[in-house]
């Protein structure tokens, strides 16, 4: 029982990370119906951007006060990459057949991964050490033990999610985003600059992914050039699970997926946990393709 609760706590932390990344998928999908395969790599670029800021700009400090700065570094690099990606890879293909942007996304994904591997100093190493800026003994909640980076992740993730929700629901840009997602043509008729809204979706998604990337680094203590692949895949699963296009759904899907994965680790062992995510993805697609919170929409050709 104690172990089960412990795994549950781990699952929630993991789920927070998945949820953060999944928001990026779901936002972009909601607006331009594109599965941005390269979003996982944006997460990775965010982690590397933070590491770069810590390593080469700040000069390897050890105080936790460096976190905001390296977070900004990560966010800036991820947003920059996402902007370039949107402008040069996706925008020219906006009216192309469906398959074209998907294939491009694969290309972008491989390109980003290899760029980091080849051109980041030491990027080829199996593991690059990420600074452990949050130290201190783990916190005990009853019999459950949670380490401090995990608490940081939970807090930051919840702040980001609530912030994003407020932004999308309350702000003018947020309303424009929802309008564009519902009907881009009508939105344009109403004077919304849809190009800008699409860029905004990419930027917000990238920023959240970068937050997740840095948190991931803080928690696990290392980064590798290929962390984005599995993380992106699972975050996509989370987005589908919650109902793709639905922001709250993505968060819910992230948490559910994280918990399921932790339970799979508990019952089937560490080596099968990655399979559980995909099994869930397939089950969701068979049983409830619109996801947990999604509404059934007609299949658009």
């Amino acid at each position: 029982m104690q172990q089960l609760l412990q795994q549950l706590a781990n699952g929630v932390v993991l789920g927070a990370l998945y949820g953060l990344i999944a928001l990026g998928y779901t936002m972009v999908y909601g607006i331009i119906q594109l599965i941005n395969f390269a979003h996982g790599e944006i997460f990775m670029v965010g982690a590397f951007g933070s590491l770069f800021t810590w390593d080469y700009i700040l000069g390897k400090p050890t105080t936790p006060w460096a976190i905001p700065v390296i977070l900004i570094g990560g966010v800036v690099s991820a947003v920059l990459v996402a902007l370039l990606m949107e402008r040069f890879a996706y925008r020219p293909l906006r009216n192309a057949p469906r398959l074209a942007p998907l294939i491009t996304a694969i290309g972008v994904s491989v390109f980003l991964q290899e760029s980091v591997r080849l051109f980041y100093p030491g990027g080829r190493q199996a593991q690059l050490i990420f600074p452990q800026l949050i130290t201190g003994p783990p916190v005990h909640l009853g019999s459950v033990e949670i380490d401090r980076p995990s608490i940081f992740i939970l807090v930051v993730a919840i702040i980001c999610m609530v912030g994003l929700d407020a932004f999308v629901q309350r702000s003018r840009t947020g309303r424009a985003m929802r309008a564009t997602a519902q009907d881009p043509d009508t939105a344009r008729l109403m004077g919304i600059n849809t190009d800008r809204i699409i860029v905004t979706a990419f930027v917000l998604g990238a920023a959240l992914a970068a937050v997740a990337g840095m948190s991931w680094g803080l928690k696990y203590g290392f980064v590798v050039f290929d962390i984005g692949f599995l993380a992106g895949l699972k975050a996509f699963t989370a987005a589908v699970l919650g109902g793709i296009g639905n922001l709250r759904g993505a968060v819910l899907g992230g948490f559910v997926l994280g918990i399921v994965e932790a339970m799979a680790t508990q019952f089937f062992g560490q080596s099968w946990k990655d399979v559980s995510a995909f099994v869930i993805l397939i089950l969701v697609l068979i049983l409830r393709p619109q996801g947990l919170l999604g509404e059934r929409v007609a299949d658009r050709a």
Binding site: Q113, E114, V275, L281
Partner: protein, 688 residues
């Protein structure tokens, strides 16, 4: 990009005005002569670079490439001068001007690349000798001169020659291509290979711009059997030329396995339009089946049974296993949209790898030896023919790879037959219609789900087949062989070569396997470059190097599909035109006749018919189509329904040709009903 194009056009216009076509041609000829002369003179001051470029009148490889480019430049310039006569009708039917440009730019690039490398390797620009300078100047002059030449013209009708002569042309063409390929493979070092690439690309662009390639294509299509036979003979002879050297045979065998898989993937992606990102897993299923049944001591099955089934059974079993996997994974997901399929196949690829890793006896039952894989797979043995022994054939002695090579030629032939027979059958047409527009296809009565499943299973079958052979070639199978990047690599190959064509898949397989072998320095960067290639290809040439004829041509299927969906929509919406029905039967009749004439003109491929007096698309002029804010004049319908009816009517009646111009904002309703004309070609034409 746009500015660059504008600038080039400006320069062209200026040069044509100042130089005139005639003087431009003379300049191009002078440049070509200079280039050839440069090739005869030394290029570098020291023999240590590029296989000794210091000799006079005794060109080394790189210098030969320069001379070749110079000669080609001269030939095309002369063709341009001569106009269309009996000979140039064949050599440069579309005019030699554009081809001269391509070749002279190639010369310039070659001279610049070699010059840079010489000064890098030998330390300083002083080491560039007179010959290279001459080539550089020649290339420059030819480039300037050729810009004044007229652009390519239309392809004139060809006159049929006697069959024997045409076949002779084909054989000459294939011989030249083979000769070039052998030169490329035989280049001694990387610099020479880069030089060869420049030569090959320049010649390819030039021949396609001059219309020579189109002529060759006409010929090969007219003598299809002969061309296929010639290609086959060339493939069969290749091992004889390699003797007992293993290097290229090894590459050739790997390329062949890759090619089979790529053709299989091209069925799934290119024909049916389903993006499969876990395709390599099917190869893995085949390979693991073969390994388990191979009699390897590490195989659990062999340890229990001590029996080895004949390979013919194994190859079928592996392929069938793979297609069963394909069906299992495809059945739940193919009902959904294509995007989900992509991600689920990606997930499936990962599940396969993880599962194979875990079936090691500790995390799961022992079947695959986990990360160690199944090793020590014995060579194939078909009817007593041992594939592990070197192959001898009369006076020719070849390595044991030749056995696998010939087996794979058979497998490739089988794959090609499967591909082309289905492509040209009812099934293939249905696949293409699904790819172009699934809604329209299902409206036509195509069982989209079954056909997509068939494509998926068929692709998996071919991949599994390739896998069974691959297991024996590699002699061991490990989970790491079947990672996602391999799938991405396969995808890059068919995107590069051409989606939906056999030759595209073969070319892609060749390029992606041979280039990294020849350019060692490039090997670490190849994934990076191929990621970039995929992005750029999708952006600038989505149809690949060898475009699909059906895609590039009239696309009868897509037209039929659009026409049918149009009829369907008219029928659907006629019942909803309460406004129209009440208003006047006349409007309805006008509307119907107009729609039918649009359909007919679309089928004939003619421009749209003259608009009716009272065009339904003009929403203000007709009594029925008023401003959207007003309630419907006849039945007082509320705004939303009223609006959607207007939108539908407008979009149905809008001539399809006009609709193509709506590039930026296609109507949502047209997208919803699947009558958008989104396909590779119309999308390209839209951007212009």
């Amino acid at each position: 990009m746009k500015q660059l194009r504008k600038f080039i056009a400006m320069v062209d216009a200026l040069l044509t005005a100042k130089l005139g076509t005639k003087f431009g041609g003379i300049l191009a000829l002078v440049g070509a002569v200079l280039t050839v002369a440069g090739g005869m003179l030394p290029w570098a001051s020291s023999p240590t670079f590029g296989g000794d470029l210091t000799w006079q009148l005794n060109p080394a490889e790189l210098q030969w490439f320069g001379i070749g480019l110079g000669l080609a430049c001269a030939a095309f310039a002369v063709c341009e001068f001569a106009g269309l006569n009996k000979l140039t009708k064949w050599l440069a039917p579309m005019g030699g001007g554009a081809a001269t440009r391509a070749v002279s730019v190639g010369t310039l690039v070659l001279a610049l690349v070699v010059g840079t490398r010489v000064s890098m390797v030998l330390g300083g620009v002083v080491n560039i000798s007179i010959g290279l300078w001459l080539t550089l100047v020649g290339g420059l002059i030819a480039t300037v001169g050729s810009r004044a030449l007229p652009p390519r013209g239309p392809l004139p009708e060809s006159r049929r020659l006697p069959g024997a002569v045409e076949i002779l042309f084909i054989s000459v063409g294939i011989a030249v291509a083979l000769f070039l390929a052998v030169i490329g493979l035989d280049t001694k070092d990387e610099d020479s290979f880069v030089g060869f690439l420049v030569l090959a690309i320049a010649l390819a662009v030039a021949t396609s711009r001059s219309g020579l390639l189109l002529r060759m294509r006409e010929l090969t299509q007219r003598h299809y059997a002969v061309s296929i036979g010639a290609g086959l003979v060339a493939a069969l002879v290749f091992p004889l030329t390699q003797g007992t050297s293993q290097m290229y045979m090894n590459i050739a065998v790997n390329t062949a396995v890759f090619a089979v898989t790529a053709i299989g993937l091209n069925i799934v992606v290119g024909l049916a339009g389903l993006l499969d990102l876990g395709y390599i897993a099917f190869t893995g299923v085949g390979a693991y089946s073969a390994a388990l049944l191979s009699g390897s001591t590490a195989s659990v099955l062999y340890q229990h049974t001590h029996r080895i089934p004949p390979f013919l059974i194994v190859i079928v079993a592996g392929a069938v296993f793979a297609s069963v996997f394909g069906i299992v994974i495809g059945a739940p997901t193919l009902r959904l949209r294509g995007d989900y399929l992509a991600i689920v196949t990606l997930g499936f690829g990962e599940i396969f790898r993880i599962t194979v890793n875990n079936l090691n006896g500790t995390a799961g039952p022992n079947l695959t030896n986990g990360p160690n894989g199944i090793y020590g797979i014995p060579p194939l043995d078909i009817f007593g023919w041992n594939f592990g022994k070197n192959l001898s054939f009369g006076p020719f002695h070849m390595t044991y790879f030749a056995n696998y090579y010939y087996l794979l030629i058979l497998v490739i032939m089988f794959t090609i037959i499967v591909f082309s027979r289905t492509d040209h059958s009812r099934i293939g047409r249905a696949w293409v219609s699904i790819r172009e527009d699934e809604t329209a296809a299902s409206a036509m009565g195509v069982n989209t789900f079954k056909l997509k499943l068939l494509a998926f299973a068929m692709g998996a079958f071919l991949a599994g087949m390739a896998g069974t052979v691959q297991a024996h070639i590699l002699t061991s199978v490990t989970p790491d062989t079947y990672i996602f990047l391999k799938s991405a690599y396969l995808l890059a190959a068919i995107v590069l070569g051409g989606l939906g064509t056999i030759s595209g898949a073969l070319l892609g397989a060749f390029l992606l396997n041979v280039t990294p072998e020849k350019l060692r320095f490039f090997q670490d960067y190849r994934l990076w470059l191929f990621g970039l290639t995929v992005v750029l290809m999708m952006r600038f040439r989505p149809e690949g190097i060898i475009p699909n004829a059906r895609r590039a041509g009239l696309r009868p299927i897509a037209t039929w599909g659009r026409a049918t969906s149009l009829i369907l929509l008219i029928r659907l919406d006629a019942s909803r035109f309460s406004c129209m029905q009440k208003n006047s039967a006349l409007t309805l009749t006008k509307f119907l006749t107009y729609s039918i004439s649009v359909i007919l003109s679309e089928l004939k491929g003619k421009p749209s018919p003259p608009k009716p007096v009272n065009p339904p698309s003009g929403s203000n002029s007709s009594p029925c189509f008023q401003k959207p804010s007003d309630p419907c004049p006849t039945n007082g319908m509320e705004w939303p329904t009223w609006k959607s009816n207007i939108v539908n009517v407008t979009w149905i009646c809008w001539p399809i040709r006009n609709r193509r111009r709506f590039s930026k904002n296609e109507s949502p309703s047209s997208a919803r009903f699947g009558i958008s004309s989104r396909s590779a070609v119309s999308w390209k034409s839209k951007r212009q």
